[in-house]
């Protein structure tokens, strides 16, 4: 406690970001340290799990120190430790979990393990201080594409998800093949702004009527086939047009399904979360579609869309208030379900 506020230390190491944050009362960010490894992984064309794990270990304790000092608090003033325990890369997750358990044990602080995806949704509580459930959430990140009904702080009901590739994975793959490189999402986004989104007729995969699920692998294959055909025919490929057309095919389906889900479940708000929530065209399209049906769209600022410790702290805080506690036997669960 400090100045009458409940302080949570949030730790996140599920992929390639070592992140630690101090959050007051589940809403106010006092510090948000993110040590990204993106430069290291770029030379390998993607995240290398073994390298990510090694870097997390080297970074984690310095991040904890910085998070505390930037927040101007000492470890004795921390009331709760929250940590991502899944889903994610197992070797990466376990660094955060081992560190969090050691803090909880050494300093006698309660511990709560957090589902990374719930954390992404909770990022919105940090951005929009008046936001409270219920709402519909759209969680789109490198490894996940989900539509989630959120009736209260501690319930996340997945009503749709991807059946094959996540949107972010599809972006990464196509980005690599058209030479944009890693990380694909932001690079496709940027290239698409200079391109014509109607240049190439990529298919929209809606699946069966009423389904909120997604499938992007067929679209990805279509894009790769298109590129092969063009190359074989000796035609020049307009990278910006491919990026724009491909992106449109992905985000149109996501936006439409999210808005339909909100409507069906009677939710007046769509809360976006995850790295792909920063995608310019997705934000534009979903705002248009939602506005036409009287639905508000909220999203966190880009810094809170990426993996961070603050969102984990916020989710841990609300779980803790509902009575949740993790024991010292907390383990990493790489394939943790929503």
């Amino acid at each position: 406690m400090k100045d009458g506020k409940h302080l949570t230390l949030g730790i996140e190491t599920s992929c390639d970001e070592t992140a630690v944050s101090v959050v007051a009362d589940g809403r106010e960010i006092l510090s948000n340290i993110i040590s990204t490894q993106i430069d290291i992984h770029t030379q390998f064309g993607g995240v290398v799990p073994e390298i990510a794990s090694r870097r997390h270990l080297e970074n984690i304790n310095g991040c904890i120190d910085r998070a505390l000092s930037e927040a101007g608090v000492s470890i004795d003033e921390i009331d709760l430790v929250g940590v991502t325990y899944g889903p994610g890369l197992v070797g990466a997750l376990l660094i955060g979990v081992a560190a969090a358990k050691s803090i909880a044990f050494a300093c006698d602080i309660p511990l709560v393990g957090v589902n990374h995806m719930h954390g992404h949704i909770a990022a919105n509580y940090l951005e929009h201080h008046d936001l409270e459930p219920p709402f519909m959430s759209l969680v789109v990140s490198g490894g996940h594409t989900n539509i989630v009904n959120v009736p209260d702080y501690n319930r996340c009901e997945k009503i749709g998800g991807t059946r094959d590739d996540a949107a972010g994975e599809a972006f990464d793959k196509v980005a690599r093949v058209i030479g944009l490189g890693y990380p694909g999402g932001p690079k496709v986004d940027k290239a698409a702004r200079e391109g014509d989104r109607d240049a190439i007729a990529f298919k929209r995969v809606w699946l069966e009527p009423g389904s909120y699920d997604f499938s992007f692998s067929g679209l990805k294959t279509q894009a790769l086939n298109y590129l092969n055909t063009e190359r074989q025919a000796g035609r020049e490929i307009n990278v910006n047009d491919v990026a724009a057309s491909f992106q449109e095919a992905v985000v149109e389906v996501i936006a439409e399904k999210a808005v339909c889900a909100a409507e069906e479940f009677g939710q007046k708000r769509i809360v976006m979360a995850g790295g792909v929530a920063s995608n310019t065209r997705l934000r534009e399209l979903i705002s248009q579609k939602a506005a036409a049906r009287g639905i508000d769209v909220l999203r966190p600022s880009p810094i809170l869309c990426t993996d961070n410790g603050a969102m984990i702290a916020s989710a841990a805080y609300y779980a803790y208030r509902a009575g949740e506690r993790s024991g010292y036997d907390l383990d990493a669960v790489p394939a943790l379900e929503f």
Partner: protein, 265 residues
């Protein structure tokens, strides 16, 4: 100076923890299930501390076996020791898992008259993490010294066995192998010694001392603490003894091929 040192050993199949006090008493706790390092590490550390009759605030140092061994295991132990040291404001100590295995086999070496102690940790495909220590019986207490030509590193099992045979054929010393590399390479070692006509100079450690354990690691940690060889938490780092595969490929220049292939699906 009073010492109460917490030691975690997570580089092998089972994780264990120990507290050693300055009179040399060791209090141990270990996991009963394989590869449950992350789940059990705090629970067994807590158990060892309670067995020692102290509280965590009484700890003066925290030590970790820093490898070689299971990469995942190494990371769990080192992260736990670093963070515990950071939170309690006490120094850390790094212990070699190989030296700890040699330490654990010392009594058996003395009893069986072995001159060389060779801990070998299985690193797959005929590879092993190893080092060779020479037992010394000259003083009141037993000691061991790492042999310069067989320092701690990665060896092909055949290479290590040849070096040991060469050394042992010269002085007639017996060789005691220990570590989980025995389970993988016993046949190869036995054949090589037989071919050299030196079967009677070959010994394998019993299963009770063959695997990584916090107890010998704790004895080493006490020696390090007494000698003042301690580290700040950020200086305690793993000893993987091997680059990641991706880094090896980058170094060899074979990485780009792999990425290009992956790009084509």
């Amino acid at each position: 100076m009073m010492f109460n040192i917490l030691v975690v050993e997570t580089t092998g199949k089972y994780d264990s923890a120990a507290v050693i006090t300055d009179d040399g008493r060791v209090f141990c706790a270990s996991s009963q299930t394989e590869m449950n390092h992350l789940r059990d590490i705090i629970t067994i550390s807590d158990e060892a501390i309670r067995k020692a009759g102290i509280t965590k605030k009484d700890l003066t140092h925290v030590a970790a076996s820093r490898g070689p061994g299971s990469f995942t295991g190494i990371r769990i132990g080192v992260t736990t020791a670093r963070t515990t040291g950071q939170m309690l404001g006490i120094p850390c100590i790094g212990i070699s898992s190989l030296e700890s295995l040699a330490e654990g086999a010392l009594d058996e070496a003395v009893a069986s008259g072995a001159l060389y102690i060779a801990p070998i940790i299985n690193a797959r495909r005929h590879q092993t993490y190893a080092g060779v220590w020479k037992a010394c019986f000259t003083s009141d207490y037993e000691q061991k010294t790492l042999i310069d030509e067989m320092e701690e590193r990665q060896y092909m099992i055949e290479e290590l066995t040849d070096k040991l045979i060469a050394a042992a054929s010269e002085d007639g010393g017996r060789v005691l192998f220990t570590g989980d590399g025995i389970d993988a390479y016993r046949d190869i070692i036995e054949e090589a010694f037989k071919a050299a006509g030196m079967e009677n100079q070959l010994l394998f450690a019993g299963e009770d001392i063959r695997y990584q354990d916090a107890e010998p690691a704790a004895r080493l940690a006490l020696r390090e603490a007494a000698a003042g060889r301690v580290l700040g938490y950020s200086e305690l780092l793993p000893e993987y003894m091997r680059l990641s595969e991706a880094e090896q490929r980058l170094r060899e220049g074979t990485l780009s091929d792999k990425i290009r292939k992956a790009g084509r699906i």
